[in-house]
Point group: C2
Amino acid sequence: MKRKITLKQIARELDVSISTVSKALRNSAEISADTIQKVQAFAKLYNYRPNNIALSLKNRKTNTIGIIIPEIVHHFFSKVIRGVELVANKRGYNVIIGLSNESFSKEVINMEMLANGSIDGFILSMSKETLQQQDYHHFNETMSQGMPIVMFDRVVSEIQCDKVIVDDFKGAKTAVEKLINNKCKHIALITTKDYVSVGKLRTQGYLEALEEHKITPKADLILKVDDTLDYEVHLDALEAEIEQLFKSNKSIDGVFAVNELYALSAMKVARKLGLNIPNDVQVIGFTDGVLSKHATPSLTTVSQHAQQMGEKAADLLIDKLESDYNDEDEVYQTLVIATDLVERESTK
Amino acid sequence: MKRKITLKQIARELDVSISTVSKALRNSAEISADTIQKVQAFAKLYNYRPNNIALSLKNRKTNTIGIIIPEIVHHFFSKVIRGVELVANKRGYNVIIGLSNESFSKEVINMEMLANGSIDGFILSMSKETLQQQDYHHFNETMSQGMPIVMFDRVVSEIQCDKVIVDDFKGAKTAVEKLINNKCKHIALITTKDYVSVGKLRTQGYLEALEEHKITPKADLILKVDDTLDYEVHLDALEAEIEQLFKSNKSIDGVFAVNELYALSAMKVARKLGLNIPNDVQVIGFTDGVLSKHATPSLTTVSQHAQQMGEKAADLLIDKLESDYNDEDEVYQTLVIATDLVERESTK
DNA sequence: TCTTAACACGAAAACGTTTTCGTGACATCT
DNA sequence: AGATGTCACGAAAACGTTTTCGTGTTAAGA
C-alpha cells in the first residue's frame, strides 16, 4: 500500500525543486514547456492530487460547512440536508454534519468540535432544549470569532444572524382558513409548548384566522403537547391526550396540527372514535413528511419546502463566505419561504 | 470581529516563544509553574483552541470520516447516519457526508473530493448505477492509496474490504416462512432487478423458503420492478404493475416485498381491488421505515437495524484507523446483522 | 574553584501547499 | 565590451501546530 504522492516526492524524483513542480502543475509561464510536460506526465502517472488539508491551512479556508440539526431520522431535516449538500457540492464545499438530538449540551459540544478551524461556517437549527433554556452564548461566541451562522426553521429573534424560515404564521393561517371555508365550525389546534418558536407562530396563525372570521378561540380546543419526551416512543401518551381532547369536545369538526405526528395521531384517534375523515372531521398538518402522502386517508398538508430551505441557507452562507466581507457593516438577511397547501383526502 | 487566536499571538503577547506556549498549555515539565500559570490564564481568557486543520496536517490524521450514501431522505439511510454519527462523535471523529443520488458519476466525484486528504476513511453504500455498471475502480483506487473503506448494506463480493450487512437471505426466508405458516398458499414476491445485491439475496431467501416447504415457485408470482426510475415520482407506474400482478393471479394470498414502498403499494392496490388485509392477503415488507408503523393496517416488517449497522460500520472503520495497521496482512471482516420480524396488522 | 546536573526556555524542523522574490545563464542591443 | 533584458528555476516564507534538540543560567557537589 502506497501513500498519496506529494509535491516533495515528485520534486525529488524528477530532480527539480518543489516550487518548480507546483508551478509546472499550474502551467506557470515561468516554467519551460519541457519541464511542464515532464512534471505533468509524472503527476498524472502517479495520480497526484493536492492535499486538501495543506491547502486549507495555507488558504485559511476549509471549503467545508457544518450543519447542526436536532434529528436526522426526520423528513424535514433530511430534506434540508439534501438541499444543503446539493448547493454545497455544486459550489465546491463539503458538508460536515452534527446531531444535537434536541440536547443543548450536545449542540454546544458539536459546535465547539467544529468551530476550531474545521469549517468555514455553520448552518443550523436550534435544539428544543436550547430554545427552552434560552441560552445562546455558544452562537454568539462562534460568531464573534468571525464564523458566520445561518439558522433555519427554528430561529429566535434574540440572535443576530442570517436566517431562512418558512412563513409559519401565514401557512398556519391559510390552512385554518381552508378549514373555515370548508364549513368547519369547531376547529381544534394541536400544537407544541410556546418555547418552540415555530409552534408558537403556527399557533398565532391559527388564532388570527379564527379572529378574522369572527370565531372566538376556545381554550378547550387548543392542546399544547409537552414534547420534551421523545414522542415517537411515547405515542400512546400522545394519543391519550388527543383522545381526551376529542372526548371533551364532541363538536370538533376540524383539526389543525403543527406537525405530522400530531396530525396522524389525530386521524388515528378520530377513526378509533368512529369519526369519518373528512366527513365528520377534516384534518390538516404542517409538515413535509412522507407519511402524509401514504396515509389512509392521505393528509392535507402545509408544505414547508424543506429542500429549498436547505438550498437557500447554503447559498446564503457561501455568498457570505465568498464576499470579501467587510467585517463590520454586518447586514443580516432573513429569507422567508412561502408555504403551499397540498390538498389531499383529509379535507373536502 | 476578531479572528481566532493562535499560539503565535499568545507568544508575542506574553513575550515568550511559540514552543513555550505550546508546552505550557500541555503542562509540560519543561516549563516553570509561573509560566504555565501565566500562559494558561491568557489562553483561557482569549478562549484559545488549537486549530484543527493545523493538527490534521501535522499528524497526518484528520479525525474525520466520510460517508457516501445514495439517498438521505430515506429512513434506512438516515438511521445509518445516526448510528455512524453516534459512535464517531463518541470516539472523537467528525462525519462528512456525500450523496450520490444513486448516480455512479456523483459517487466517483464525491469520493475524489474527499479522498485528497480531507478524511481518514470511508463508510459507504453503493449506488444502484454503480451496482449495475459493475465499475468499481474508484473503490479500488481509493483503497490502494491506503484509505480504508467500510461498505454497508449494498455490497458486492468483488470488492475486498470490511463490510456490514444485514442477513438479507435469512430475513427474507423467515418472512416467507411466516406467511407459509399462516396458511398462505400463493405467495407473491415484489422485488428489484437482480443487479441490486440486496434485492437478489432477498429473492433467494424467498425461493429457499418456498422450496423447503415443497412449494414450487411460480414465475408469474414474481414481479421484478425496474427501479431505475425514481419510484417516489412514478408511484402510479409502480401501482399499475402491481395491479397487473394481482389481476392475473387472483389466488394470491400473501405478498413479500423487498422494500417499504413496494409493500405499501401492494397493500394499497389490494385494498383497491376489494381485498382485505390480512384476511384475504397478508403482506410483509423488508424495511426499517416509519411508514410501516403508521400505515393502516400497519405493516409487518423484517427490521434491518439500520442504526446498529451504522454504529458497527463506524466502529469497524475507526478500529482499523487506530490500529497501528500492519498495512500488508490485510484481513477484512464482514459483519452480519440478524434481522427481526416485527409483527403488525398486515399478517395474522 | 571547577565540574556537573537540573532547570527553563528557544530554535528549528516537519506536515503539504502556494507564491514572492532572488539569481545565474544566456541573448540582445548599443 | 558593457549594459540590459529575458528565461527558467530555486530558496524561503507562510498557514498553525507539536516535538526534538540545543543552550544559557543557576545550583549543587567535589
